[in-house]
Amino acid sequence: MIERHFDEELRELHKEILRMGVLAQEAIFKSIEALKNRDKAQAQEVISSDGKIDELELVIDERCIDLIARHQPMAGDLRFITTGMKVNAELERIADLAVDICQRVLALVDKPLLKPLIDIPKLSTIAQSMVRDAIDAFVNKDVDLAKKVVLADSEADKLRNLVQDELINDYMAKDAKTADRAVPLLLIARHLERICDHTTNIAEDVIYMVEAKVVKHHPEQL
């Protein structure tokens, strides 16, 4: 087997995507901590760090385009690079959603808590473990783990619906004045659920990368 210079460049790309994954994971973790601890400084830190993730997204995109232009990759190499581009975009969106959560946290932090947080922390745990597993699946080319991520998404949808029903029916419908505290919570649940959706996309892309099988929009292929 010939060791190609191209392999070294692919390893560099792999490292950068992994770094992007770590940054996105950190952003989610800190945004959830900021919510749980009502920590304004933590929320602001996530918001101000987002620029670094945006810059890395551009660096990775450029590297992928450069690799395609210079090497005209085929087969597994091509699938790795195109998947890398998609994963990169999904991770950037995930980090943006962490920023969105922090903005909601800033809207809530000076107001009394509407209710004890039960389902949102559960949802955040699912989101964090899905992101971690999706990145691990990408790094280790682990199709079984990627499938597990895809299947976990329905649990996140259920929890988001629970949070939504509770906040609308038990609070806002009964007392409209709770809206200024309920709506940010509603949006946080929505942001967490969207993080799970982006993570599902990453997992589906990993399956394509490894097995050349398209499961996106074809759950029966799982």
Binding site: M1, I2, F6, M74, A75, D77, R79, A212
Partner: protein
């Protein structure tokens, strides 16, 4: 519909087993690329389609190559009409040391029945138009073909096949001596021609195979390892050997 059906084709050069149980369907009016490392048998397979290998001493074949319902490996095959029907373009263009006009109508002069000037002129014009040379050469038809550029010579050789109404065009590394622009123009010509002709191209240039062909076959050590739609072969090859070759890992 299959234009060429290859069934369990085996070919030996003396003791050397050059093609091993090759089976494949080459679809009519499509471009099929055959790729593989040097010495894998791809040119041998190509030359089997018009029995050019017969010219090599000690060649022995088994199996079938069905072209339009006829097994061309059968005894009694009319090789002259086979080679009219299945024309070949080589790595280096090989025009005859004649005028451009005489090159194009050479086949007609040898095989044709109507050798009247107006018929030959019509054939020359149609053939040169088909390869997009007419506008450039219509006023230079009596000039020597050897004075043309490499790309024009290659087009002229293709025009020569069109003139004798070949319906299968075999191309053995047709662009390997051309610069990138000339290569791009020959590839465009191939796309133009595939509406009327079945084209099989042997190439070392993987990007070329990926760009121009509808189907691709990968050969290794005399075997046809993988054969399928080009987009499948280049994005999701089934065989690891194909993957290793097209990603440059084969060594």
């Amino acid at each position: 519909m299959a234009k060429i059906e290859v069934n369990k084709l085996n070919l030996w050069y003396g003791d050397f087993h050059a093609l091993i149980n090759v089976s494949a369907s080459f679809i009519e009016k499509k471009i099929t690329a055959i790729i593989g490392p040097s010495g894998c048998g791809k040119s041998t397979l190509l030359r089997a389609f018009n029995r050019m290998n017969d010219l090599i001493e000690g060649v022995r074949t088994e199996g079938e190559i069905i072209i339009d319902t006829e097994n061309i490996l059968a005894n009694g095959t009319d090789l002259v009409s086979l080679r009219k029907k299945v024309g070949m373009v080589f790595q280096r263009p090989n025009p005859f040391p004649l005028s451009i006009f005489e090159n194009v109508i050479f086949g007609e002069r040898v095989h044709g029945e109507n050798l009247k000037r107006d018929n030959l002129e019509r054939i020359a014009e149609e053939s040169l138009r088909a390869v997009l040379l007419w506008d450039d050469l219509k006023d230079k038809l009596q000039k020597p073909a050897l004075g043309l550029s490499l790309e024009q010579k290659q087009r002229l050789c293709i025009a020569r096949l069109i003139a004798v109404k070949s319906d299968i065009v075999l191309m053995d590394e047709p662009c390997s001596t051309l610069d990138p622009q000339a290569t791009a123009r020959i590839e465009e010509l191939m796309r133009e021609l595939k509406d009327k002709y079945t084209i099989i191209i042997v190439t070392h240039n993987m990007q070329q195979a990926a760009r121009v062909s509808d189907d691709t076959g990968f050969m290794l050590l005399g075997e046809l390892v993988e054969f399928g739609r080009t987009d499948d072969v280049f994005t999701r090859p089934k065989d690891k050997r194909t993957e290793d070759y097209i990603t440059g890992r084969y060594g």
